[in-house]
């Protein structure tokens, strides 16, 4: 099947039921997308499919063939997407394992709601677990990213 990941076409030979997560990680070699639960409970595997957040651990790769997949590696060339900048300013990360998913969930949220409230953030990002408990800084960073994106546009 043909997959478009971060603007690049990949031709992969995998079974139809193989989740996108494992195709990304074990076949294509993009390991920024993380395995956390395998049942869409934690959000560590979040990627964007045509701009929408998707749990790649339960979405068969075959279901996204022909669509545009963005992983953390494809978010920006130099780690300078406004959300990444805001994450840096707010000193969000701890162990860092969930942050690819958190950042992509925030990107999708800000696209839908450029000025999200705390309640919007909670609603949109409730599916992204962080065992280190960086939630407060994630909220701060999402607000900061909204500011940065507002300045940019």
């Amino acid at each position: 099947m043909k997959l478009s990941v971060n603007g690049k076409e990949h031709d992969v030979e995998v079974s139809d039921d193989m989740p996108l997560l494992w195709v990304l990680r074990d076949v294509i070699g993009l390991t920024g997308t993380k395995f956390g639960c395998g049942m869409a409970q934690c959000g560590a595997c979040t990627v964007l499919v045509d701009g929408h957040p998707v749990r790649s651990c339960v979405r068969p790769a075959s279901a996204v063939a022909g669509k545009s997949v963005t992983t953390i590696e494809g978010l920006s060339a130099h780690g300078d997407h406004p959300v990444q900048k805001a994450w840096t300013e707010a000193d969000v990360v701890q162990c860092g394992y969930c942050q690819s998913g958190q950042i992509l969930a925030a990107v999708a949220l800000l696209k839908a709601k450029p000025k999200p409230t705390d309640a919007d953030i909670d609603a949109a990002m409730g599916g992204n677990l962080c065992r280190c408990g960086t939630y407060q800084r994630i909220r701060n960073a999402v607000h900061r990213a909204a500011e940065l994106m507002g300045e940019r546009s």
């Binding site: 995998v14 079974s15 193989m18 989740p19 494992w22 990680r25 074990d26 076949v27 070699g29 993009l30 390991t31 920024g32 997308t33 993380k34 395995f35 956390g36 639960c37 395998g38 049942m39 409970q41 934690c42 560590a44 992983t71 953390i72 590696e73 978010l75 920006s76 780690g79 990444q84 994450w87 840096t88 000193d91 969000v92 990360v93 701890q94 162990c95 860092g96 394992y97 969930c98 942050q99 690819s100 950042i103 953030i121 909670d122 609603a123 990002m125 409730g126 599916g127 992204n128 677990l129 962080c130 065992r131 280190c132 408990g133 960086t134 939630y135 407060q136 800084r137 994630i138 909220r139």
Partner: protein, 711 residues
């Protein structure tokens, strides 16, 4: 000079420097296998902990593991306080497993007990000071001036109009004899230590470049998952691999001591293979474990005298006949780090390499060597970033590493063994279940005169190489925070007892270890006594803590910042707790409401005295983190067992805190020149009691079991 011996410091070798430790050939192969080796391929100065490259790179090697707690930033701060390098040039690496990196407090290389920062404050400053001394000497020699007339600034040695960069001096410095001793700065002159500093590992962690154990990929590598027995102590009786082998991509199916391994081209094939596997299990001796029954048995046991952990006065007499009695109960808990356990092993003709996120390098190294018939030094441990540890990756039995070594032994290719979330939740090594029964009496003025506490729990260290920690029959990790509580020991008549159980469930240190249950029991009961005495919870505690001024000051700071004594917003109430652990004191004031029968924590006001605070931004992060971790335990998490089987398996039935449940956390750090203490764990213990005490203040219901449930 303590910490670093001169012998270990410098051994000049050719143009570069091989210093203090032997770099195994395997490590060099590892470096070569990495996608983008660091620019500094020259290994000139300075010692096992620091390399300064001709390209001006400054690389700090960590003797401990970065698992979120921020030492990737804190230890370089210590070095640079003395070194004076350009902070933007600092790079960080995990050190290999070697004797030189043994902890300064334990005879192994490890990360735990919230020890890293305080235990390395001297060693890493010395590293920086020694390197700076050598660089200055090299510059002084080059210019023919006195070293004492030179100064340093942001990676340069300066004398008058002359400036030489550290990189340009590195090789010359590497040829100089090590200084016999170094003078560390007076803390009053610190410019780096104490300054809020953002993390150095952010760039990798926001771009997906950070390599966790799970992300290791080696040429020809297989991925394996292992079917584990459904009970603790269970064993493989037999298995039918035919369906598993029929799954495309599955390469091998075989038994290992911990179960049946399925190795495949990638995780998905291995997992499907395991799903297709039929295993006949010998359920072993613990197939009847039932947590509801354990709870009853623990409760019964708590009514009798156990092994003495602390005692003073005559508690029996002082308790009298109308003592207040309460029983607290806490469940088994899984650490559930976001990165499931995993370990990659590659064997070679002369040794083996292990890639994993571990907190226990030395222990892992020794056990792998034993399994593969190697000497420990033939086992190279490559520590990756840890996707959370919380104690789970400091495994006394090295369970996930040992398993990978056994799997690798059966294969002629490198293999990554991956645990699923279910494997992780059901894999044992939990925070032990505990029951505390506390009895207390007050005198006529409402002052406590007797405290008797009986703890029923498992020993973490019994039967392990750490068993020497057990003193007079008491594993200190089961009573810490109670037997040494200033509340308890401050009461004239007190006794703390321990009943040690052994139901066959593997247990381990879980963020804050014994304090994770003792603080809940102690601080809840103090609150109950205050209520019985009809005294304000803050005032009651202040009086009890008269002889512990540092603890009292932290409590007072949290209370003041939380607005204790002023009315809370409508529908809310406050509760407080203070607890000392791992050399630091933390107090939380929780502000809660009850909505739709559920406890909601709106705000946590935290005060912390961790002595000398190296990175206030990092300490604040660890307090926020400790709050979230503590709230997961206070509000949600619980493991139950029936017929020896763990009932929970993933985040749907073993929930942890989600973002909408995260309160606003304010952290106030006490300015202190006391000895530096820990930060990773001390934020957790006072969370649950602060919340429970707030719920009592709001509803009048005293909740004595975790997780807290109103109905």
């Amino acid at each position: 000079m303590s910490g670093l011996s001169r012998r270990a410091f410098l051994k000049g070798a050719g143009g570069g420097l091989v210093v203090g430790f032997f770099v195994p050939a395997a490590l060099k192969r590892f470096a070569a296998a990495q996608e983008a080796p660091a620019a500094a391929t020259v290994l000139p100065p300075v010692n096992a902990f620091l390399r300064i490259g001709a390209d001006e790179s400054v690389t700090v090697l960590l003797a401990h593991s970065e698992m979120g707690q921020g030492i990737w930033t804190t230890l370089p701060m210590m070095v640079n306080e003395e070194l004076d390098a350009d902070w933007s040039r600092i790079r960080v690496e995990h050190a290999p497993a070697a004797v030189e990196y043994h902890s300064t407090v334990f005879p192994i290389q490890m990360t735990g007990g919230s020890t890293t920062t305080w235990s390395e404050l001297d060693r890493y400053r010395q590293v920086g000071a020694m390197a700076r001394t050598l660089l200055v000497s090299a510059a002084a020699a080059r210019w023919g001036v006195a070293a004492g007339d030179c100064r340093t600034e942001k990676g340069f040695v300066i004398h008058g109009d002359r400036r030489a960069s550290y990189g340009s001096l590195a090789e010359a410095a590497s040829k100089l004899p090590a200084p016999g001793k170094v003078q560390l700065k007076d803390p009053a002159d610190w410019k780096v230590i104490g300054k809020p500093t953002r993390r150095l590992d952010t760039p990798e962690k926001i771009t997906g470049r950070a390599k966790f154990g799970m992300d290791i990929r080696l040429p020809g590598m297989l991925t394996a998952v292992v079917a584990h027995p459904p009970t603790f102590g269970g064993k493989v009786k037999g298995f039918d691999a035919s369906a598993a082998k029929a799954v495309p991509g599955v390469r091998a199916v075989f038994a290992v001591p911990s179960g049946v391994a399925v190795a495949a081209d990638h995780f998905w094939a291995a997992k499907k293979g395991r799903d297709a596997l039929k295993v006949d299990w010998d359920l072993g001796p613990h197939a009847d474990v039932d947590t509801a029954k354990l709870r009853e048995a623990y409760s019964e046991k708590s009514k009798s005298e156990g092994t003495k952990a602390a005692a003073g006065g005559d508690v029996e007499k002082a308790l009298g006949s109308d003592a207040l009695v309460a029983e607290y109960s806490l469940p088994y808990l899984a650490h559930a780090p976001m990165e499931p356990l995993n370990c990659t092993v590659r064997r070679s003709a002369d040794g083996c390499e292990v890639w994993t996120g571990t907190q226990f390098q030395t222990v892992d190294q020794q056990r792998v060597a034993q399994i593969l018939g190697l000497k420990p030094e033939q086992v190279a441990i490559h520590t990756t970033f840890l996707g959370g540890g919380f104690g789970r990756r400091a495994n006394i039995a090295s369970d996930f590493v040992v398993e990978a070594a056994h799997v690798a032994k059966n294969l002629d290719k490198p293999v990554k063994v991956v645990w699923t979330r279910d494997d992780d939740i059901r894999g044992g090594y939990y925070r032990p279940m505990a029951v505390h029964r506390i009895e207390g009496s007050l005198d006529g003025r409402g002052n406590p005169v007797a405290w008797r506490q009986r703890i029923v729990s498992q020993s973490i260290v019994a039967g392990s190489p750490f068993a020497a920690m057990i003193k007079d029959g008491v594993d200190p990790t089961a009573v810490e925070g109670a037997s040494d509580s200033p509340y308890v020991t401050g009461i004239a008549n007190h006794r703390v007892d321990l009943h040690t159980t052994d139901p066959g469930v593997p247990v381990l240190w879980w963020r804050s270890v014994g304090h994770s249950h003792t603080a809940f029991a102690v601080e809840s009961f103090v609150d109950e006594l205050a209520h019985a005495a009809k005294r304000d919870p803050l005032e009651f505690r202040r009086a009890l803590l008269e002889r512990s001024p540092r603890v009292r000051a932290v409590l007072e700071l949290a209370a003041e910042k939380a607005g204790w004594g002023t009315p809370p917003p409508p529908g809310r109430a406050r509760g407080l707790a203070v607890h000392e652990s791992f050399g630091s004191i933390v107090s939380h004031v929780a502000e809660v409401s009850v909505e739709d029968g559920k406890i909601r924590v709106h705000r946590m006001t935290c005060a912390v005295d961790c002595g000398v605070c190296v990175n206030p931004l990092g300490v604040a992060a660890q307090m926020e983190s400790g709050v979230a971790f503590g709230l997961s335990a206070a509000l949600h998490s619980e493991l139950t067992m029936k017929e020896g089987r763990v009932q929970e398996s993933n985040f749907h039935d073993y929930p942890i805190l989600r973002i909408h449940e995260m309160p606003k956390v304010e952290v106030h750090i006490v300015e202190s020149r006391e000895k530096s203490g820990g930060a990773g764990e001390p934020g957790t213990p006072p969370v649950a009691p602060a919340v429970a005490n707030a719920v009592f203040a709001l509803t009048g219901k005293r909740l004595r079991e975790l997780p807290l449930r109103l109905a």
